[in-house]
Amino acid sequence: MGMNMTEKILAKHAGLDSVTAGQLIFCQLDMVLANDVTAPPAIKEFEKIGRPVFDNTKIALVPDHFTPNKDIKAAGLAKTVREFAKKHQIKNYFEIGRVGIEHVILPEKGIVGPGMLTIGADSHTCTYGAVNGFSTGVGSTDLGVAMATGQAWFKVPKAIKVVLTGKKPKYICGKDVILTLIGMIGVDGALYKAIEFAGEGVAELTMTDRLTISNMAIEAGGKNGIFPFDEITKEYVEGRVQQPYEAVAPDEDASYEKVIEIDLSKLTPVVAFPHLPGNTHPVSEIDKIKIDQVVIGSCTNGRLEDLRQAAEVLKGHSVHPDVRCIVIPGSQQVYLDAVHEGLVDIFINAGAAVSTPTCGPCLGAHMGIMAAGEKAVSTTNRNFRGRMGHVDSEVYLAGPYVAAASAILGYIAVPEEVN
């Protein structure tokens, strides 16, 4: 029996010729990631082990959740991370002014690449499947142990194959693909499983689309969400990823527990209603839902192409007087590019706030907390109860096109409704 992409990466990093679903293995790690919320407890666990860091070039510490520090306690967490990074000379530590959202900057800077195995103390670490790597979220204890040993244990997951066909219509983006998939299989539809994308439709997806899709594999319960290596991957990683890498492709007889087909040409813009990312509805079929806030950004949709899509809709229009629109570029590079391309002009002229990179409102940390009864359309990844503030506020998840159109009209809308 052949191996799928996930099995190939896990087998190689376990020093084995092959692995099969259900097998328990120890793997060598290529990159180990934590942020300002998860690194401090990881550091505490790390220090209990009493060893040096396994490799100061293979640890990334990205203070992005509560930064720029939202309060005194958060400042203490950031300080803990900073001091640890200094003490252990962590190469990939990013200070305010250089930092971006972890899952935006790691691919952008080529810190993660094809065939690499990354764990991160953040559930959206699964993002790097977009560049043909295996990556998955873990907790702080796993991370603390990994910083000391360079290893982690895994159970080889069963895999679901998602075959993409057809051409992507105008105003359809990666967010619509992944929200549609989660709507089809449910928030536990890929529980403990790998999601592997395949089919001619993959070539229709830009790297930004893929990063959005892999990012939200966890929202279906998935362990990872991986794309094959193709010309688009090659173009993206060349010149970015400094270390040698080995792309993986599935064997023809690779095993998959289930195959799901999505015809991209049939997709329409969707929105996920509170309080689960799987409560997906086509925007064209919903009643008029008035909103108070729009958030455009996050590790899911905070890249340049996402901002271009939002700006395309917002250009020459104004944010509705009853709406606060907050745009958060995912990295300093994205921010700078958005300034140079005139996107920031468009946002500010439309009456949107533009913030420095932070996870901020996505997890209800800061920079856009909602009061009781308020509703937001957000390009983020979770719409759990109380996620963006008060327990009685609501988050509707969508892509940048829908978010921008909603900001203008004051209710959840598609771009065609603007004008």
Binding site: L24, A121, G144, T149
Partner: protein, 166 residues
């Protein structure tokens, strides 16, 4: 280890934002986290969990318990509330890892979870996975932990396991 306790029953897809909202993640002191455990749940609002849980109470959820964020603060908050074991139909992957790693036993019993109700009294043997519902008389068997994961649990968590391994 055999435990007896009263059930706090929750539904499906209990996410880590409900278990410990992000606004409290500026601390990782277990006591601070326990003070806000399950705060954003819309279940049991008449007698909220954090104010009413007593040492030994058992948390029982439905499908996909602990989905969402990787925050280890979630199982830490539950453990620091005095809950010695969590039972669910199944657990989200990262929460499951985290529970094992911090030494909080987690037992998966599939659809049998429907036969456990809020306020029932359970006797749980975390080493054999046998669960007795003392209120109804039902007996359930949890899936055993695989391979060396059992050794991690027996060691009381991943740090102890790694230190013992040398």
């Amino acid at each position: 280890m055999s435990l007896e306790g009263k059930v706090w029953r929750y539904g499906d897809n209990i996410d880590t934002d409900v278990i410990i909202p992000a606004r409290y993640l500026n601390s990782f002191d277990p006591k601070d986290l326990a003070a806000h455990c399950m705060e954003d749940s819309d279940e049991h609002q008449e007698a909220p969990f954090a104010a009413n849980v007593v040492e030994g109470d058992i948390l029982v959820g439905g499908k996909n318990f602990g989905c969402g964020s990787s925050r280890e603060h979630a199982p830490v908050a539950i453990k620091a509330s005095g809950v010695p074991v969590v039972i669910a139909a199944d657990f989200a992957r990262i929460f499951y890892r985290n529970g094992i790693n911090i030494g909080l036993p987690l037992l998966e019993i599939g659809d049998d979870v429907e036969k456990i109700h809020h306020g029932d009294k359970l006797r749980v043997d975390t080493s054999t996975g046998v669960i007795e519902n003392l209120t109804t008389g039902d007996v359930f068997h949890a899936q055993p932990l695989p391979g060396f994961v059992q050794d991690i649990a027996k060691a009381g968590g991943l740090i102890n396991y790694i230190k013992a391994k040398g």
